[in-house]
């Protein structure tokens, strides 16, 4: 058995050439076990799956951001050639709504659509083109309603969800319409005055995960009323627990299998085709495959919350922060997704990794008819890091203090308290990370003239370098590792240890490209002292939940569970006299408790499990006349606890940095009245080889006492910090405030 997804036996067996690569243990820079099938094209992503007799599914979606659904007429679509089923909300046999945390989103819209691209009907046909034509033939009569598109106005407009699905979950009661969640953190004396103060208003555009493998999957009826769904996802068991009730089935009749995942970054936390594919498969009795195209992918998943953030930082003349007052407004879009947790995270990390005695933080997320938002790498901390670090630069300028010194002066350390009252217990080497990043030598300034490709504007050859200014920026970012606020989080692992010493590991952790399957194998080899270890394909039937591949938690949690199960298996086998044993163990991290809804203070020892920090130094060149930018060099130091696989850690840092660069310079979903106007890679730009500079990274290893091997997750901190660091450098080059990302050429030249 192998964890590598295979397509189906329809093709002749693989002739993949094999090249033996050394299996790594904990701490080794191991190459990926799925590397060879990925470079040969053998690796089966969810869009590559095939089953005999398979039909193609297609989703009919709303062209309106907000409308009443007056009528759905499927008669013409049903008559088209090759069509086997056309389904609407009436065909959903179980629960009509679903959601990651709150079931506020219809499986198929019944009376109202709340965002552009909302699913209204489903079609299954023999051929993809037949499915597309049938979907186009479904006649839906809409009565357009005024869309709620402006966050601040949303708090006064007609509620999109009058039943207030997120209220009474222990959150602060906020009677204003369209509130998803409000939280307030009062820390010390929120009125405390400083000797100096700086203020600013910052805005963050809506960013897309833009994973390269669009949403897709295959649902296969089992002939006994149940269904198997093969899908690219981040959390198999939570998918199952959302799919089964909507199908009206007990959870064991729905089995979710992980197929090859073409990137995730939070965008696969929510469901895409899972319920839809299963509905069509159960109705037609045939396997049904659904593959979104790029345009559909832009409405097929949630996005990073756009935000507006008001800040005031009060400090002493010596630069010590006295009081920070921040108001955060997040646009959650049409449905809740994980917005309540993002709201809280944005607030929890709004001060950055700095010790501040007094603070007032208010964070509010609203429902609108804009694209739904939820989890994306950084999860609320990206937005507040951008604002908070801009404020520190502003304060440094006002006080005439070096920006790095100002950060060191205020750096948080173990033993200090967060604004929620939580004391930092584990490792958090903020000062060391800052010093390491600041000590990285900067590259020499390049002389002119030079190749156009090394100038702002690049191969476009738009400048010869006359207006080019160099800028140097610095930023520090931090966020939590693992789930928070009382979430009962666990990861299960099952180990079959055979008499001959070989082992098979079962863990439902989602390999989304981050390398968790290698972490699992490295841990198992280390604990069992053998290289003869295989990983079973992750699915829901044979092992309990692994939790989500998100919140920088999967390495920690999977390593913890596999370590626990391996040690138990060795003991059991000894007791069994050397015979084969099969043990399952569930790992939990230290318990957290919710924050007080009125004060935002901890109600137990902690609301967060652990933290990680990254600092980044950036060199840019900006053509200040043409508004063109070039990021020349990035140097970063990151607190990783312990690098289980240093090669993979460096890859996470470089990739995470690139996504932050995208938000700083180019990435934003454009909307007009809630309608997305740039749903393609022609119009929504992500960084290319020409946009990415060399990234020099230093891993600061200060083991986390509560974590297996001391390892912290590493995926998010680089994304949290890089947007802030790059814009800091742009400000240095241009002298402009640049309070909104992505920074546009117009902002640089001051149009």
């Amino acid at each position: 058995m192998s964890t590598i997804p295979t397509r189906t036996p329809r093709r002749t067996p693989s002739r993949t050439p094999t090249r033996r690569l050394e299996p790594g243990r904990v701490g080794d820079p191991a190459t990926r076990h799925d590397g060879v099938p990925k470079v040969t094209g053998e690796f089966a992503y969810s869009s590559d799956l095939h089953a005999a007799g398979m039909l193609w599914g297609k989703t009919v979606r709303s062209p309106h951001a907000h409308a009443r659904v007056v009528e759905i007429d499927t008669s013409e679509a049903r008559r088209l050639p090759g069509v086997h089923a056309v389904l609407t909300h009436e065909d959903v046999p179980g629960q009509k709504n679903y959601g990651l945390e709150f079931a506020d989103q219809p499986v198929l819209a019944s009376d109202r659509v709340r965002y552009f691209g909302e699913a209204v009907a489903l079609v299954a046909a023999e051929e993809p083109e037949q499915a597309r034509r049938a979907a186009a033939a479904v006649r839906v009569v809409y009565e357009p309603l005024e869309p709620v598109t402006e966050m601040e106005r949303a708090l006064e407009q007609e509620p999109l969800h009058p039943d207030r699905p997120t209220m009474s979950h222990g959150y602060r009661d906020d009677p204003r319409p369209n509130v998803v969640r409000t939280m307030v953190i009062r820390h010390g004396d929120p009125e405390a005055e400083g000797e100096v103060s700086v203020a600013g208003v910052y805005e963050i555009g809506i960013q897309d995960q833009a994973f390269l493998g669009p949403e897709s999957g295959l649902a296969v009826p089992d002939g006994e009323g149940g269904v198997d769904v093969y899908v690219a996802t981040q959390w198999l068991h939570v998918d199952r627990d959302q799919v089964a009730p909507c199908l009206g089935l007990p959870p064991e009749m729905v089995r979710i299998h992980l197929s090859g995942v073409g990137g995730a970054f939070g965008g696969r936390e929510d469901l895409s085709m899972q319920i839809h594919g299963a509905l069509l498969a159960l109705r037609t009795g045939r396997p049904v495959k659904i593959v979104y195209n790029r345009q559909e992918s832009f409405v097929g998943h949630i996005h990073r919350h756009p935000a507006r953030i008001w800040c005031e930082h009060r400090a002493t003349r010596a630069g010590k922060l006295v009081n920070v007052r921040i108001r955060i407004l997040l646009d959650g879009g049409a449905y809740a997704s994980s917005s309540t947790a993002v709201t809280s995270n944005a607030a929890s990390f709004a001060l950055g990794p700095y010790a501040v005695e007094n603070a007032l933080i208010e964070s509010t997320c609203v429902y609108t008819n804009n694209p739904p938002c939820g989890a994306m790498r950084g999860f609320g901390a990206v937005q507040t890091c951008f604002a908070g670090e801009a404020q520190l630069d502003k304060l440094a300028t006002k006080l005439g203090i070096d920006p790095v010194e100002l950060r060191l002066l205020n750096a948080l350390a173990p033993g200090d308290r967060l604004p929620t009252g939580q004391q930092i217990e584990g490792s958090l080497p903020v000062a060391e990370v800052i010093r390491c990043a600041a000590a990285l030598p900067l590259p020499q300034a390049e002389s002119l003239p030079r190749e156009a490709i090394r100038l702002p504007g690049g191969a476009g050859n738009t400048t010869r370098g006359e207006g080019v200014q160099r800028g140097i920026g610095f930023a520090v970012g931090f966020k939590n590792i693992c789930y928070s606020e009382g979430f009962d989080d666990s990861t299960a692992a099952r180990v079959i240890l055979r008499a001959d010493g070989s082992a098979e590991i079962n863990c439902a952790a989602a390999e989304v490209g981050q390398g968790v399957s290698d972490v699992i194998l490295q841990v198992a080899r280390t604990e069992l002292g053998t290289d003869d270890v295989v990983l079973a394909p992750p699915e829901t039937a044979s092992v309990a939940s692994a939790g989500s591949a998100s919140a920088s938690r999967m390495t920690w949690m999977a390593a913890g569970a596999v370590q626990l199960a391996c040690r138990a298996a060795l003991e059991e086998r000894k007791r069994a006299g050397g015979d084969e044993v099969d043990v399952e163990r569930i790992y939990r991290h230290a318990r957290t408790t919710p924050l007080d809804p009125e004060t935002g203070q901890i109600t137990g020892d902690r609301a967060h499990v652990a933290f990680a920090v990254a600092a980044m130094r950036v060199v840019v060149e900006v053509d200040v006349e043409l508004g063109l930018t070039r990021v020349v060099w990035i140097g970063t130091a990151q607190d990783v606890g312990k690098a289980v696989n240093p090669l993979a850690v460096a890859g996470q840092i470089e990739g995470g940095t690139a996504q932050g660069l995208g938000l700083a310079l180019m990435e934003e979903i454009q909307t007009r009245d809630g309608l997305i106007t740039n749903a393609s890679f022609t119009d929504y730009l992500i960084p290319t080889t020409l946009d990415m500079p060399p990234v020099e990274s230093v891993l600061v290893e200060d083991p986390e006492p509560g974590a297996p091997y001391g390892a912290k997750g590493v995926g998010e901190p680089p994304t949290v910090v890089s947007t802030a660091a790059i814009v800091s450098a742009l400000r240095d080059a241009t002298g402009r405030e640049l309070a909104r990302v992505p920074v546009r050429p117009d902002d640089i030249v001051g149009l």
């Binding site: 470079v39 040969t40 296969v220 191969a459 690139a658």
Partner: protein, 171 residues
Amino acid sequence: MRCGFWRNVPWSGVWHEDRGVKIRLTVNGEPREADVWAGESLLTTLRDTLELPGSKNACEQGECGSCSVLLDGALVCACLVLAAQADGHEVTTVEGLADREELHRVQRAFVEAGAVQCGFCTPGLVVATAALLEANPDPSDDEMREALSGNLCRCTGYAKIFDAVRLAARS
């Protein structure tokens, strides 16, 4: 995988209405033929008819390079070439780069350098890198960046991909 063995309903035949074009081409050294719809892209034919899903569909408008293949040795996006245009021509996909025993040096370098994460862009980048090194065995960093700028990767930030290209050029 379980779904492959599911046989309750027999295959009920493909939709012939639009499949009026027969093409004959050489794919990875083997003569192949396919009945295609006149508007069908080479990518669709490779993936869905010729059972070569290694070339990926990530944008279908030539922006991401995930479907990069060689058409008579020239690097193209298979999504922008009509299947009918490939009639009589030679196509090399990622599946055709390795010989039976050995990975292509570019494939090996991508694995060893850690240039693969989710891997969705990898087939396209591997083909594009092979084409680059064929034309320019020792590219400078600028040449490498420019040559691969049509291949998007969302996971790696490209650093390890550049390492892989340098490693492959040396091997």
